[in-house]
C-alpha cells in the first residue's frame, strides 16, 4: 500500500484524529495524528489485515523548538513490507501522549527513553521511569533549551 | 620408614610430626607446578603461549612470582563478613585436603600412616572440604558466594556416593581398604593393575570414579560452584591475598588427592608398569607422581575443552546416571566373585 492509501484508510476510520498528511515531505511521507488517540490508531494499524503494521521500527522524540515536542513512530509491516511514519505534536508545557506500549511492546523502552530525554509523558505506560539517566536527574537533556544541572550528588556536572 | 623413625626416636609424637612433613613438602611445589602447567596447557590448547617471561625458560617462575605477589597483597576481610568463619574457612579447606595425604602411599617405603582403613579414611576426610567451602560461602556475606557454597555442598555430597560406590566395587575384589596393600597386590607388570581385572567392570568403576572425582574437586565441566561466568568466583569471590592462595592451593591439592586415589586403586600406585624394571622406593615416587600428573593433565584437558553443565544437569548425571550404574557395577562384580 502506498502512504496515500494508508492515510485515506486511516482518515476514513478515525476522521478528526488524523490531522495532516504530507506526501511530499523530503524523503519520508508522514501522517500527523492526535496525541490522545495514538493507542487506538496503533491498534487499528496493527490489526487491520490490509495494513498489518506489526513492527514498530523506531519511536523518536523531537523538540521542534517552537513550544512543541513531537513523537515520531516509524512503522513497518513484515507481511506487506510497507512503511508509514506517524507523528504527534504536543505542547511543551503539557507533553502528554497516549502510550502505544500495549500495541507494540518495543515501545516500552523507546517511550521510557523519550520520557528520559525529552520529558514526554506517556499516559498508560506500565513503567514510566528514566532509562538512561539516573532516576534523580534533573531536566530533559535532549530538549533544545536544556541547561545541565550544576551538581549531581555533590559532583560537579559541567566539565 | 615409620618403623625406622620409631627405632631412631622412640615412639613419640615427633615421629608423626616428621612423617607429616613430606606431603607438605610435596604439595606446595606441586601446586606451583600444576598452576604453571595449567596455564601452559590451556595456552597451547588455545593457540597462545602462556607465561613466557618470568624466570626464563617458558616462564617457569611465573607461579612463584604470583605467590610472592599474593603474599604481599592486602588481606581484605569484608566489613559485613563473619570474621571468625571467614578467616577459618580457607584453613579448614586446606586441612581437609592435606589430611587426605596422610594415607596416600607415595612409595613402598613411605606412607604417612599405614592404617587398614586407608581408603575409607581418605574418602571421609576429603569431605571435610565441604564444611570449609560452606563456611567460606556463608561467612563472606555475599550472595554469589552463598550460591557457590550451596552448589558446592550439593555437588560434593551427591558425587561422593557414586565415587564411593565405584571404589567399593574394587574393594570387593581386593578385599582390603589398606592402600599400601592395594599397591602390593598390583605389583609386577601393568596387566596386574586393578583396571585390567574383571574386565570390564573395574574399568566401568574407574570411569564412574573419574567423572565423580572431577565433580568432587569442582573441575570443569562440573565447576559450577565457582562458575566464573555465572557466580563471578563462587565461594571465594570475597577472598584475597594469602587466603585466596590457600583456597587455590587446596583446590590443586584436592586435584592431586583424587588423582592419587585413582592411580593407587586402579593403576598400580607406585608400581612400575614394567615389573621389576625401573622399580624401587625412589623410582616408586616417580611412577606414582607421574601417574597422578597424567590424571591431572586429563583434568586440565577436559577443562579447556568442555562447556560447563547447569546445576540441574549435574544433579541428573550424579543421581540418575552415575549412581545407578555404580550400583549395577557392584552387583555385577559381586556376582562374578560368587560364581
Amino acid at each position: 500500500m502506498t502512504s496515500q492509501e494508508i492515510h485515506d484508510q486511516l482518515k476514513g476510520k478515525f476522521g478528526d484524529a488524523i490531522l495532516e498528511f504530507k506526501p511530499d515531505a523530503v524523503v519520508d511521507p508522514y501522517v500527523q495524528i492526535a496525541p490522545d488517540r495514538t493507542k487506538e490508531i496503533g491498534l487499528y494499524l496493527r490489526d487491520d489485515p490490509a495494513l498489518e503494521f506489526d513492527y514498530l521500527m523506531c519511536l523518536s522524540s523531537v523538540d521542534y523548538n517552537d513550544g512543541n515536542l513531537g513523537v515520531v513512530y516509524h512503522l513497518n509491516s513484515l507481511r506487506h513490507n510497507h512503511k508509514i511514519t506517524l507523528k504527534v505534536r504536543v505542547p511543551k508545557d503539557k507533553p502528554e501522549v497516549q502510550s502505544v506500549e500495549a500495541v507494540w511492546k518495543s515501545a516500552n523502552w523507546h517511550e521510557r527513553e523519550a520520557y528520559d530525554m525529552m520529558g514526554i509523558r506517556f499516559t498508560g505506560h506500565s513503567d514510566l521511569r528514566r532509562i538512561l539517566c539516573p532516576d534523580d536527574w534533573e531536566g530533559y537533556p535532549l530538549r533544545k533549551d536544556y541547561k545541565v544541572q550544576e551538581f549531581y550528588h555533590g559532583m560537579k556536572v559541567p566539565y | 620408614m615409620e618403623q625406622l623413625l620409631k627405632n631412631l626416636m622412640g615412639d613419640n609424637i615427633g615421629v608423626y610430626a616428621l612423617l607429616a612433613v613430606p606431603p607438605l613438602l610435596f604439595i606446595v611445589p606441586y601446586a606451583l607446578f600444576a598452576v604453571w602447567l595449567e596455564r601452559k596447557v590451556s595456552a597451547h590448547m588455545q593457540d597462545r603461549l602462556g607465561p613466557m617471561r618470568v624466570g626464563g625458560w617458558h616462564g617457569w617462575a611465573q607461579t612463584i612470582a604470583d605467590i610472592l605477589k599474593l603474599l604481599q597483597k592486602e588481606d581484605i576481610v569484608p566489613t559485613a563478613a563473619d570474621k571468625t568463619l571467614f578467616v577459618l574457612a580457607p584453613f579448614i579447606v586446606f586441612v581437609g585436603s592435606y589430611a587426605a595425604f596422610a594415607v596416600i602411599p607415595f612409595s613402598s617405603e613411605y606412607v604417612g600412616s599405614n592404617i587398614d582403613l586407608g581408603l575409607f579414611y581418605l574418602v571421609a576426610v576429603s569431605a571435610v572440604v565441604v564444611i570449609g567451602i560452606l563456611m567460606a560461602g556463608w561467612s563472606s556475606n555475599n550472595k554469589w558466594s552463598l550460591f557457590g557454597a550451596m552448589r558446592s555442598a550439593a555437588q560434593i555430597v551427591s558425587y561422593e556416593i557414586p565415587s564411593v560406590l565405584a571404589l567399593l566395587s574394587v574393594v570387593m575384589i581386593a578385599g582390603t581398604l589398606n592402600l599400601q596393600e592395594f599397591n602390593h597386590m598390583q605389583s609386577g607388570w601393568f596387566w596386574n593393575w586393578m583396571i585390567f581385572q574383571k574386565f570390564p567392570f573395574v574399568f566401568i568403576a574407574f570411569l564412574i570414579y573419574f567423572v565423580a572425582s572431577l565433580a568432587e574437586v569442582n573441575r570443569a565441566p562440573f565447576d559450577i560452584p565457582e562458575a566464573e561466568s555465572e557466580l563471578v568466583a563462587g565461594y571465594h569471590t570475597e577472598y584475597s591475598g594469602m587466603k585466596f592462595a590457600l583456597l587455590f592451593l587446596a583446590e590443586y591439592a584436592n586435584m592431586f588427592a583424587v588423582s592419587a586415589i585413582g592411580a593407587t586403586v586402579f593403576f598400580g600406585g607406585w608400581n612400575s608398569p614394567f615389573g621389576d624394571f625401573l622399580s624401587g622406593p625412589l623410582l616408586g615416587v616417580f611412577w606414582f607422581i607421574t601417574k597422578g600428573m597424567v590424571f591431572i593433565f586429563i583434568q586440565m584437558w577436559l577443562r579447556w575443552t568442555l562447556p560447563r553443565l547447569r546445576v540441574d544437569q549435574l544433579m541428573y548425571i550424579g543421581w540418575k546416571v552415575l549412581t545407578p550404574f555404580a550400583f549395577a557395577n557392584i552387583v555385577a562384580v559381586g556376582l562374578w566373585m560368587i560364581l
Binding site: 514498530l56 521500527m57 513484515l78 513490507n81 518495543s106 523502552w109 | 555465572e230 568442555l306 562447556p307
Partner: protein, 391 residues
C-alpha cells in the same frame, strides 16, 4: 515489580512436618560488574533459589549522549567518529548506516567502487562481530577455548582493516559520500586469502562448540522467543531470524549493492529444541558468517578496479530541510537512524535506533522461570554491546 511483591507476601504451603517454613525470594544484583553481562549491564534478578522469578534490566551506565553530541556537531561528517563508538565491535556497520542515511537525505549516489568497498567492509565486520558474539557466548557457558579461537580469526580481519585505514577498532573509514582511503593494492588478495583461511575455521568452531552435547544441553530449549513475541518487541537481526522469521534488511529493504549479491537468509529451525531458543540464535550467527564469506567473495570478484572513492560531496554538507529514517542491517540487527535536517550544516536531531537496545528489552519476557546459569546463556545469546544499548 508489583507481581514480585505479591509473591513475597503469599505464604508457602506447609511442609510435611506441618510447620510453615518462611521462604523468601532473593534479589540478586547481576552486574554492572559481572563477568558475563557483556559490559555494564545490570540485571536485577528476583530469584527463588536458583529459579528466576523476575528480571529487571537497568541500563545507562555507558550513556555517552550520542544524540546530543550529534546535534552539537559543526557538520555532518563529524558525527561519524561518534557513530563509530556506538557499537564498538561493529564500527564499520555504524559508519555505513550513518553514511547511507545522510546520503539519502542529500539525495546523492556514491561511486560503484565505494559501494563495493563498503559492502566488503561491512561483511568483514559482520564476521568479526559474530566471532566475538560466538566466542563470548562460549565463555558464558563455560567453554573457554572457542573464545580464543574466535579472537585468533578476528585478528586476521582486524589486520585487514588496519592495512586499509590504520585503525583496528574505531575506523572512521566510511564517510558521507565515500570512504576515507582507497583500498591498499594488496587488499583484494589478502581478503581472498582470508576467505580461504576462514571457511574451515567455521567447521572447527562447529566441532568444538556448536554440536557439543553439553553446549546443546545448555542452550537448546532455553530462552525460547516465539516469532510473534519477537516481532511485537521489534527484535531484529539474528535474534529475530533465530525465531524463524525470514527477515534480513539486506533482502527486505535493500540498500547499497546487496540486491546484486547472492546470499541466503539464515533462519532458526529449532534443530536442537524449540524454534527461537538460544541454540538457534547461536547457530544463525555461525551460518551467517558463511554467508558473509560468500558475499565478500562475490564482491571481491565484482569490484571495479578503478574509481574515485570520495565522490563530489561538498566540504560542508547542507542537506535540504527534511527528515529521513534509514535502517541498515548491522551484525546485531536493524540499525536505524532518524535524522532531521533543518537546512543548516549540522543535524537538528539524530535518533539512533540501536538493535541491541531493542533486542535487550525482550529479556524479561524470555528469561522467567529459568535458572541463573540459563540467564547467562540468554543474555549471551541476545548479543548486546552496551556501547550501543546506552549510546
Amino acid at each position: 515489580m508489583l507481581e514480585t511483591k505479591e509473591k513475597l507476601e503469599t505464604k508457602p504451603p506447609p511442609t510435611s512436618t506441618g510447620k510453615t517454613v518462611r521462604t523468601e525470594e532473593m534479589v540478586l544484583s547481576m552486574g554492572p560488574q559481572h563477568p558475563s553481562t557483556h559490559g555494564v549491564l545490570r540485571l536485577e534478578l528476583v530469584v527463588d533459589g536458583e529459579i528466576i522469578v523476575d528480571v529487571i534490566p537497568h541500563i545507562g551506565y555507558l550513556h555517552r549522549c550520542f544524540e546530543k553530541h550529534s546535534e552539537a556537531m559543526i557538520n555532518y561528517q563529524m558525527v561519524i567518529p561518534y557513530a563509530d563508538r556506538m557499537d564498538y565491535l561493529a564500527s564499520m556497520s555504524m559508519d555505513f548506516g550513518y553514511a547511507v542515511a545522510v546520503e539519502k537525505l542529500l539525495g546523492i549516489k556514491v561511486p560503484e567502487r565505494v559501494e563495493y568497498i563498503r559492502v566488503i567492509m561491512a561483511e568483514l565486520q559482520r564476521i568479526a562481530s559474530h566471532l566475538i558474539a560466538l566466542g563470548t557466548y562460549g565463555l558464558d557457558v563455560g567453554a573457554f577455548t572457542p573464545f580464543l579461537y574466535c579472537f585468533r580469526d578476528r585478528e586476521k580481519i582486524l589486520d585487514l582493516f588496519e592495512m586499509t585505514c590504520g585503525a583496528r577498532l574505531l575506523y572512521n573509514y566510511i564517510w558521507v559520500g565515500g570512504v576515507s582511503h582507497d583500498l591498499p593494492p594488496t587488499f583484494i588478495d589478502k581478503a581472498k586469502e582470508f576467505c580461504q583461511y576462514f571457511k574451515p575455521k567455521i567447521k572447527e568452531l562447529n566441532d568444538l562448540l556448536s554440536y557439543n552435547g553439553i553446549f546443546i544441553g545448555r542452550t537448546g530449549n532455553i530462552g525460547i522467543l516465539p516469532a510473534e513475541v519477537a516481532i511485537n518487541y521489534a527484535c531484529s537481526g539474528p535474534m529475530l531470524r533465530g525465531s524463524g522469521v525470514n527477515r534480513d534488511l539486506r533482502r527486505n529493504d535493500p540498500y547499497s549493492i546487496y540486491p546484486r549479491l547472492e546470499f541466503d537468509v539464515i533462519v532458526g529451525k529449532g534443530e536442537m529444541g524449540t524454534v527461537g531458543d538460544c541454540w538457534d540464535r547461536y547457530i544463525v550467527r555461525v551460518r551467517e558468517m558463511e554467508q558473509s564469506v560468500r558475499i565478500i567473495e562475490q564482491a571481491l570478484a565484482q569490484i571495479p578496479s578503478e574509481g574515485d572513492v570520495q565522490s563530489a560531496v561538498p566540504k560542508r554538507i547542507r542537506p535540504p530541510i527534511g527528515e529521513v529514517y534509514v535502517r541498515t542491517e548491522s551484525p546485531r540487527g536493524e540499525f536505524g537512524l532518524y535524522i532531521i535536517s533543518d537546512g543548516t550544516v549540522s543535524p537538528y536531531r539524530v535518533k539512533a535506533r540501536s538493535p541491541a537496545f531493542v533486542n535487550l528489552s525482550v529479556l524479561p519476557e524470555i528469561s522467567k522461570g529459568y535458572m541463573i546459569a540459563d540467564m547467562v546463556a540468554i543474555v549471551g545469546s541476545v548479543d548486546i554491546v552496551l556501547g550501543e544499548v546506552d549510546r
